[in-house]
Amino acid sequence: MTDVMADRSAVGPDPEVTPGAASGPRPAPPTRRQARRRGQLVAWAFLAPFMLAFVLFVIWPLIHGIYLSLTDQSLTGTGGSFIGLQNYSEALSDAVMWRSIGNTVWFTVITTVPLVLFALIMALLVNTGLPGQWLWRLSFFMPFLLASTVISQIWVWIFNPEIGAANEILSAVGLEPIAWLQTANVDLISIAIATIWWTVGFNFLLYLAALQNIPTLQYEAAAVDGAGPWRQLFSITLPQLGPVTGVILVLQMLASLKLFDQAYQMMDGNSSESSRPIVQYIFEAGFVGYRFGYASAISYIFFVLILLVGITQMIVLRRRKEDS
């Protein structure tokens, strides 16, 4: 009760009222210990629910995962004794793991470029203001709303070697049919095609939003100077989209590296050498092979891969920002 009073009397120059960065000079903070303590309490009351979940479901697993990776823990509860770095040394000499990392990186390479390029082309075309905005947005973005299960089922059907639409089309134009998901190395490309179709809409929306933020004045000025449509595209639109492209690239590469859902489902759980991504190998080691310790070690190798890519991109983006 007294706390409340103290808080109220402190309203004017209350140090807790001063916003983080939003406002100008702060009023001189009165040295009211009580008010300050209460402020801390209030802050923690706001923070508590999120921080509790954060610690329980992110921080703790992150730490516990390190410990698990140093044991021979199994899913069935047996094992659990400390074995040092054995899991890591096994993983690093595990050909299947390296193949999975290779597949994941290859998938990232073959999806990122089309996912950025198609998205850009779609957004540029839609942004010209051609009639039918509603329909274009629906066509390109709708697949993104579908669950991985749904798109996997649709594409497994399209890629069916005997009766699928993909081969029907190939034979209609006189090409040899392909066993899309049953041929080594082609399988991952097929998964990439489905993925591009599925997720390009997200990048498309990001580009569209960015395009609509470019001030029209710039175009008007350019037009006055006699710049034609192509000139405007290359000297205004594309340069302005530079930063957005950076963000989309980062998001896209990180998303592609996390491939699992559609790869697992399109192969119906039967992973092939050439299509198994690293996350699926974590899953198989942990939930098929029951080796939680080993799976944790691979998880950390995967995490390091993500960190490396993420940090590299951040450095590149920052440098480019400084340059310009």
């Binding site: 479901f57 203001g129 905005q133 749904v150 009766i163 990001l206 119906d268």
Partner: protein, 304 residues
């Protein structure tokens, strides 16, 4: 043509490019028209390409199994148009259970995520406490942690909590979304402090101010973020797939996946399933396209 063009250009910000060009390209009147036709053709062909897979799924779902299994690109099979596949799927009952599970767990995940993120974001934005910056940095840094790398220890944790095969085990690990905290903090930072100060002078406590001043102002961003979280939760596969084995507790994506393996070769039924599972979000999208597009775009960009 020119009238509709102008109308559209007014509607779409940034699109007046074309209009300005019109007045300016001297020899270009013709090539401008050509460019526009080419753009339109490109747009139509891409849209067709993108709609085709879904269209094909719908077409197949209205065929008999024999027609579907015989392939071919015809729109209606030799045996004619039929809703057999849908009837077969819907008579199994599980689809309803899964759809309901997906609906309410996604709703709960969205509610919890947005509530706890908003509270935390407000603390990070407005309240001063020891270690505020440090803590915020830690939360932001956690964005780089891929949830897929945590499945093993998380599953182990759920085993010890006895939450494997429970709704809580499904829901709780999905409510921590650091990007949402970041987005909301940025939004709160931009809300003028004066608005809150006025209420504070009137004697309202922090919580009151938060609920009666800040939240009402934040409705658009909360809506945007909620849409995003809901779509993510609705479509999430890996975690629900791991944590739920009981058929009656499954979400739609996981349930459909198990059935797919069970009756693999019944193509029109599989497509009917896919169409049914896709329907709810697609219908919602048709009605709330503007809001969803905005929600996804703002959230995707980290609230800019």
């Amino acid at each position: 043509m020119s009238a509709t063009t102008t109308m559209n250009e007014i509607d779409a910000p940034g699109a007046d490019v074309t209009q300005v060009r019109r007045t300016n390209r001297m020899p270009g009147e013709k090539s401008f028209g050509l460019l526009r036709i080419l753009a339109f053709a490109a747009l139509v062909s891409m849209a067709v390409l993108w709609l085709l897979p879904v269209f094909w799924a719908v077409v197949t779902s209205f065929k008999t199994e024999t027609d579907a299994a015989s392939g071919g690109l015809d729109l209606i099979g030799p045996s004619g148009f039929t809703t057999q596949a849908f009837e077969a799927i819907l008579s199994q009952g599980n689809v309803y259970v899964w759809a309901l599970n997906s609906l309410w767990t996604s709703a709960v995940i969205t509610a919890i995520t947005v509530a706890i993120s908003a509270l935390a974001a407000y603390a990070f934005s407005r309240l001063q406490f020891k270690g505020s910056r440090w803590l915020f940095l830690m939360v932001i840094a956690s964005i780089i942690v891929p949830s897929q790398a945590l499945i093993i220890p998380l599953y182990y944790q759920m085993l010890t909590f006895n939450m494997v095969d429970t709704y809580w085990g499904l829901i709780l690990p999905q409510v921590v979304m650091a990007p949402i905290v970041f987005i909301l903090k940025k939004f709160f930072d931009a809300v003028p402090v004066e608005l809150e100060d006025a209420a504070r002078v009137d004697g309202a406590g922090r919580l009151r101010v938060f609920f009666s001043v800040v939240l009402p102002l934040s409705r658009p961003i909360l809506g945007a973020v909620s849409i995003f979280v809901f779509i993510q939760a609705w479509n999430n596969f890996l975690w629900p797939f791991l944590i739920i084995n009981d058929t009656t507790l499954m979400t739609l994506p996981v349930g459909l996946q198990t059935v797919l393996s069970a009756y693999g070769v019944q193509y029109s039924q599989v497509m009917a399933q896919a169409v049914l599972a896709a329907l709810p979000l697609v219908i919602v999208f048709l009605f709330y396209q503007r809001q969803i597009v905005k929600g996804v775009a703002t959230t995707g960009f980290g609230g800019q």
